[in-house]
Amino acid sequence: MVVTNTIIDVLLQPLGIYVLALGAGFLIPLFYRVRRGSGVLVFFAALAAMAVIAGLNLLAIINGAPAIDIETAGIKPPFSINLRFGLLEGGFVLAVNTVALLGAWHYLPRLKQQAASLLLYLILVMGINGMVMTRDLFNLFIFIEITSIATYALIGMGRSDNVLAAGFKYVMATSIASAFFLLGTIFLYYQTGTLNIDDIIMNRDLIEGPIGLIATLFLLTSLLVELKPYPANGWGLDVYETADSGIASLISVGVSAGVFFALYKLLPLMDNYLTSIALIGGLTFLISNLIGLKQENTKRLLGYSSIGQMGLLTLAVALLKQTDADAHLPLIVGGLFVNHLFAKAGLFWLAGIVNRKCIGEWSSGVKRSEVLLLGVLITALVGLPPFPGFWAKWELVMLLAGNELFGWIALILIGSLLEAAYLFRWFSYARQQDSEQPDDAPAEASFSFMQIMPVTIAALLLFITGYGMAKTMHVASPEVFLPLVAGFAMWLIDRSHGRLKNLPMLAAVAVGGYLLTNDLEGINRLFSYLLVGGGILVSIAAMYRNDNRRGFYPLLTVLLLSLATLLRAQTSLEFFFSWELMTLSSYLLVTLGRNGVKPALTYLLFSLASAYFILAGFSVAYGATGSLLLADLGNSGDSVAIIFSLLAAGFIIKMGGFGVHIWLPGAYAESDDDFTAILSAVVSKAGIFGLFIIAAHLGVRSDIGLDPGYVLGWIGILTATFGALMAVFQEDIKRLVAYSSMGQLGYIVTGMALMSHLGWVSAMYITVNHFLFKGILFLSIAGVILRTNERLMYKMGGLIKNMPFTFTFVMIAIIAMSGVPPLSGYGGKWMLFNALMEKQWYWITAFAFFSSAVAFLYMFRLLQTVFLGQRKLEHAEIREAPMILLLPQMVMIVGIMVISAYPKLLIDPLSAAIDPWIANTLVWQGTALHAHFGHWNAPMIMAVVAGVFMIPLILLSLFALSMKIQKVEQFNIVYAAERPRRPEETHFAYKFFAHYDRAIGFTVRPRATAFWNSVVEWSHSAGASLRIFYNGNGQTYALFVIMYFVGLFLFNGGLAL
């Protein structure tokens, strides 16, 4: 008994990993021969035990136990090989062993065919463990080689046609790299007289002269090459493409992890080459993601992403060393590593299960669960919340900013954006099929359930580690995660049927929103009414659809609640977290639209670009102030202008500013009709809130206030003008209103840019007004589309007869939007123009006038071509929009009317909330508001207009009484002495403003779209020209490996020798 206990104790030591691996290695063939199943059992027992041992020991260390040093052969190092199991080692080993266990599960159908493959797999995992733990240089070589040979053999077992050729190239390249390693090891031994890594590091002064340089560079080259740097990585890509997914995943995350850790161990020797290492990592990250854009092959795409991620890790570790930020290693490198480990392994397995050669082929026959997992894993890989990669990237960027390494930040963000582009492109293909696909057949489902289990566990582990990291960074408050939790709860009931799902969602958002926002004050509180309250109001309308709408309600919950968390964010991290969550959930909601997937991708990419601008802005602020508090943004000294510009750029992109608006019409038009209302009326306000944050914290306090503000003012007004102009020429009703949204947001931007009390009040006033009229418009349009099944306006007409309420609501909304007195739009325009004149921005004022005049064109067109004119014969029988759609609109109509008659009710709280930032300059005389230039007495205007409207109405009615008014049929008009028979002949609607197009249409030819298309084109051709090195020839690849050494040698002073 005692003996057993001792054995168990010994086995539970880290060394037990090797004992078990080797022991099982002997046992497996035996058992396998007896009975195949028992061999597999031993195999799994060993793998699981390896993970458990790593886990137990890591737990002990986390709980305060010292790092474990394992000595062998009963002799002290340096005369014997020793291993170390510390915090980092433990983390790596545990992660690798876990993923190896899951990978074995995934790969089992192939593995269990031969005892040898089970054995090799085990040896491979043990080799990686050894690479991580050993402290002996030559032993490290041995473990590298053990791993390599096992890898070679497993690659060779692959099924695809080209796997042998790819494997041979892999062997060629890595054997040359190994040769370098061996040479480096022996030369180091020659100079230092020891093989113990700690001893070598201690005696690194002895490493000198040409031999020292060459020895170090040999080691460095070897390890870097094993990490597959650009361009010496074609051999790796070929293997990723052709090897079985189980092996490719292990190479991508396991072997690379071991090599990466080896590099980390030897970094103290490479102090002089840290810049080279960072550059290599950075360029590899950037370039492989650029080339990835053009990749169609699923697994090769994953290969590019793997290489890029390893580059990012290399970059991170080198820069951390360079800035002496070892304390951040676990969070940053650990986070990035774990993120990549689970996400990439999961993706490889998923690619293996789905088994489609090209990403384009994912668009048919992929199951819902698989698409869901793909989404989760890609989201994690790209570094979006709540996954570890998000937190790690944030820490990395902030750390770099603290050291003013802004160039690196730019590189990381650009690379990340490129990676997101191709990964989400893949996801888009997979998303496209959902609608036409029936739910999985039960029999097949249970089979696929077992198959996707490892992938699912990887995804779950990502959630868990993500939450763990959030806890470490002290942002894991229940408030921050409430949107996700609520969304998850909604997801649990997502299978239930129909519109009633809306009720729990509304309840969740109401309760959650109240909890999140009830302690807010000032402008944030006002925004919370708009975003949460308004969000709920508009969401009520979603009940007009009774179909299943899988995913809609959970995502909407996340979206609306993340808006609430956005408002309560105190730090830039919380803000950014909520922002990304909002971006992600709104992106997914857009993909739910019938043809939403493609425009959603554009939307996502622009949103991510926006987010990265914001991140860059926050990082500069952190670099300048050392604080993450939003309230400290203003203390950034000289950096205020650049922070303001970066953040403003981010928010402008998100709001669809002039030139970066091209995502907007597509995303608005192709979303579900009720979601478009939320997108325009509610979600767009998040950008305004962001603008307000920076205007309040940066714009007012800085001395330079005017210049970036003036630029912002111009951007806003150009957005307004061109938004209006483009809206004029749309045939699609949703695109028309989408462009109109863009234009209206432009006024708000200009108002914010004014940095004056009146300017901000006007911006906020227009914001509220925009919520009201855009909510009404989009919901009305949803009703019209529901009834007519058309989106092209010229295919409608005359609907006033069938949908009088909808028409009335649209008309009121349009008058409120146009700025015609007496409705609420006039107040916004009046304040904006007065504020503009006070600021002496005359040219902007002129543009604002012009754009609001142009707006009349599209507003009239909307009313005329949809509701007036001749009704189509097939629309004769359609009914009014459903009550549930009209109800929220009625509430908003009441809102418009109240604000129109008593704007003071709105302006007073706005003014009070702005007062702490800019002192109140509004002068009230009774109900009249006085500004420097003009005056505005809304109740009086309302009364006069009501009066002058009543007089002729009564007059006409009196005459009408004496007349015989006859209601006439359709077509009963004086029409060139002919009676038209078809509405199509008479309804003037198509190319309604053709003459306007002839006059000034040239200003709105899609130049921005052309520009962004060519940006895409350029990046693709850049990617194409950068990948010419991958010609498929193993000898070329081998040459690159050698050239890599030569290059490093020359770059690091080889010429001076």
């Binding site: 030559f138 041995i142 080689e145 390599s148 040979i149 070679y152 053999a153 060779g156 046609d161 080209n162 042998l164 050729a165 790819a166 494997g167 041979f168 190239k169 062997v171 060629m172 054997s175 040359i176 190994s178 040769a179 061996l182 040479l183 022996i186 030369f187 031994y189 020659y190 093989l195 074609g234 890509l237 070929d238 493409e241 052709t242 053009k294 990749q295 090769r300 990948r1027 991958y1030 010609n1031 498929g1032 020839n1033 193993g1034 000898q1035 081998a1038 040459l1039 050698i1042």
Partner: protein, 126 residues
């Protein structure tokens, strides 16, 4: 320690080892036939082994066994460094393993593709 004047034998081994490495690399880079490439690898591997051995060698040294012939106190100068030799043994085994794997790849490639020319094996690229 000055290798050039003091240890001519090891210098010869070192130089020929380095030559073999270069020769092997040249073979791997220029020969189209897989078997020749593998031979190139073998040459390179052998060259490395020779370099390793040469580094541990002490001219006129004796076997690293502490007994009557070598006194404890002068062992450091008189004895050939045993570590590189030990390492070489391991390295040879590993090299053998790699060579074997490469050859098996070559055999199977020939079986499936009926060719041994590496420039015919460029299906996966870009």
């Amino acid at each position: 320690m000055n290798m050039l004047t003091d240890f001519p034998i090891s210098l010869i081994v070192l130089c020929s080892g380095l030559c073999l490495i270069l020769l092997g690399l040249w073979g791997m880079l220029t020969q189209r036939n897989l078997i020749r490439i593998i031979i190139g690898f073998s040459l390179m591997d052998t060259g490395i082994h020779m370099v390793m051995v040469s580094i541990g060698y002490v001219t006129g040294g004796t076997a690293p066994i502490i007994n009557d012939a070598v006194a404890m106190n002068e062992a450091v100068n008189r004895v050939v460094d045993p570590v590189p030799s030990a390492l070489v043994l391991t390295a040879i085994v590993i090299g053998l393993g790699v060579t074997a794997v490469m050859l098996s790849f070559a055999v199977r490639i020939h079986k499936t593709r009926k060719t041994l020319m590496i420039d015919k094996l460029t299906e996966s690229k870009w």
